[in-house]
Amino acid sequence: MAENATKSSEAAAPPEGLTPPERRTPLALRQPVEGAPGTLRLAEMPFAGKFILRLDPASGGEAFREAAGLDLPAAPLMSVVNGERVVFWLGPDEFLLLVPEAEAAAFAEAVEKGLAGQHHQLVDVSDYYTAIEISGRKAREALMKLTTLDLHPCGFPVGHVAGSNFARAQGWLWLEHGEEETARFRLYVRWSMADYLWCVLADAGREWGVPEQIPAADETFLTESVHSKKA
């Protein structure tokens, strides 16, 4: 599941004469967009390993740390970062684990092994969500147009993660890097909401010169090779 965005790619090798399995992300049609330099930039962060972990941190936190190599967040609404591995607090016994795609399978196996005997649940949700990176000194201001969350630095410090409605779509917002000039948020949204939110975010950035984004209607299928040229 983690490696495959389409069902057709589950087979080992495609029969002779067929094209290789295609992969795409929810925002495969979108190129990163930017307003005036330094103001607001939108980009998709495709293909990452994502897991929902249900675990009582009081009884299983230690075992998780040994298996995963990082702690569970000690307080609500916080995140823990270790290199490219990130853990979000989603609820008192629920966490979102983010790992590079290449490590995802081994990571899940290690966590399952480490938590054997613990009451827990680990679900691969890599293909449920995608992440939109919102960066620049107007990032806070643009997001404020979409949500009722208090995004002032006092109420939303670096490392903060909060679930809320963004232009009526549910998502998880994480402040990865918070210096005023280089604020960098990540918004984790469901696949089916991604294009809608992309367009709404671009609309919020119109006043700083972000180009208008037309909602995808007649999408054409883009392959992974096309997609990877985005970066």
Binding site: P76, L77, L90, G91, P92, E94, T148, L149, A162, G163, S164, N165, Q170
Partner: protein
């Protein structure tokens, strides 16, 4: 629109929450001879006070946890928020006076003036 304090996430806008009905209503133990009236009592009958009501809410856009709340239905004042499984705390509420001293029932009765303590009739 008002602000609700989730016991896990803190103060958030009401639009992030969904209502879950009156709290502390226990599902009856299943019995062969249970009457329709008993079942209907569990399913339909609610206290519906004009005053303090214990109710369930769920933080549907945030942590998606259910929790309990004590709310004064006459004034919409949120008096306490507490986790599922906990007992309702003791609270002080300004209960509305009713014109002829009848029981303060029926939260939707706009014709009944909400009297504040000490206010002359």
């Amino acid at each position: 629109m008002f602000v609700i304090s989730c016991p896990y996430c803190g103060a958030r806008d009401q639009s992030e929450f969904s209502y879950g009905g009156e709290a502390h209503i226990a599902r009856p133990e299943w019995r062969e001879d249970m009457s329709d009236a008993e079942w209907a009592d569990f399913v339909f009958m609610r206290s519906n006070p004009k005053g303090v009501l214990a109710e369930r809410w769920v933080h549907s856009a945030g942590c998606r946890r259910f929790f309990n709340m004590l709310r004064n239905t006459a004034t919409d004042e949120i008096l306490a928020v507490y986790k599922i499984g906990e007992r309702a705390p003791e609270v002080q509420a300004k209960l509305p006076a009713t014109p002829c001293g009848e029981a303060p029932i029926g939260s939707g009765n706009d014709a009944v003036k909400v009297m504040q303590p000490g206010e002359a009739e």
